[in-house]
Assembly symmetry: C2
Homo-oligomer: 167 residues x 2
DNA sequence: GGGCTAAGTCTTGTTACGCAACTCTGTCTC
DNA sequence: GAGACAGAGTTGCGTAACAAGACTTAGCCC
């Protein structure tokens, strides 16, 4: 048995999200979509991904509602894959990943790709900030607390109490 | 052959990053570390991860410089795994993932875990914003352009030119 | 009817995951 | 000093997911 354990029902948004996307190709397929790819062949050639793997990832993204498959020409039948709102909303995550990679994995030459922010005309280094005060969210100034969606049963357990003692 | 293709040398920070972390457990091990776990047994019990898988992920994170393994007691020898600066800097990525998961995967009850921003005292919904102007970074208002670290050889290729034509 | 393109499926290997059992080292207890 | 115990892994094994590339299907073009 080696079916990857499912995290979909864990009381943790990170676990639920990586359960969907916790696979390198899925993120890269989304990246391609943000770059403007929409057809199967475009994804395949842009990424060099195996065709069956690509078919599988697209299917998953469609199933999960991040993309939709549309027939844009019926004779001959041709499909395109478009990001839904849910899919578009994932872009900030990729932006945050880009920022980290630019800082820690780029060589001397600098980042390979620049994100240009059309709003202000600058190249953007995406910052992750608090919606309330606008200050950066950092591990040192942020703490995890039990939220409204945390299951009551788990809430009582001593190990959970201990872990979130500061709440 | 099924060794996952390596993206480490792609001219793309997303690809390089998911090459390191593009695996569900790795992200969750980091999450545990941000929650305060540092010992092997803590990670193992907190996640319910198989011990060999955990050993492998911790080794990888140490190899890649996101965590360091420290002996904090020599009789008997006891180790702890601590986040390095590189590791701490990954927190915003998890915060961005949390925000997405909170929005799209949480049920009626709301998010299972709340991120509390100690700076301002509010629960934070992490926003990803442009470092230059402070406005949110969204797929619609952001475009990818070739950056300084993009290899010259690739830059000339017609498909690359086409893809980044708007640059 | 031969070739072309788009969009996949099929076959075949390999690998990595998950589990449980085992090891190793050094304490603590009786 | 024999045995139980804890921390931190490693080993062995079966299965499921992954990757590569060949093959298929469907319809157009000439």
């Amino acid at each position: 048995m080696s079916a990857r354990k499912s995290f979909a029902n864990w009381p943790c948004s990170i676990a639920r999200t990586v359960d969907l996307l916790g696979d390198a190709w899925t993120c890269l397929v989304l990246r391609e979509a943000f770059y403007g790819s929409c057809r199967f062949e475009e994804f395949q050639q842009g990424l060099g991904i195996a065709r069956n793997t690509l078919a599988d990832r697209l299917r998953r993204l469609v199933d999960e509602g991040l993309m939709e498959k549309r027939l844009y020409e019926s004779e001959p039948p041709r499909h395109e894959y478009l990001l839904t709102e849910k899919g578009h909303d994932f872009f900030p995550v990729l932006a945050a990943i880009t920022r980290w990679g630019d800082r820690w994995l780029a060589g001397e030459e600098g980042p390979p790709i620049a994100l240009h922010h059309d709003v202000c005309g600058h190249d953007a280094r995406p910052d992750v900030v608090c919606s309330a005060c606008g200050e950066p969210v950092r591990s040192e100034n942020t703490s995890a607390r039990i939220g409204p969606g945390y299951p009551d049963k788990l809430r009582q357990r001593p190990d959970v109490q201990r872990r979130f003692a500061h709440s």
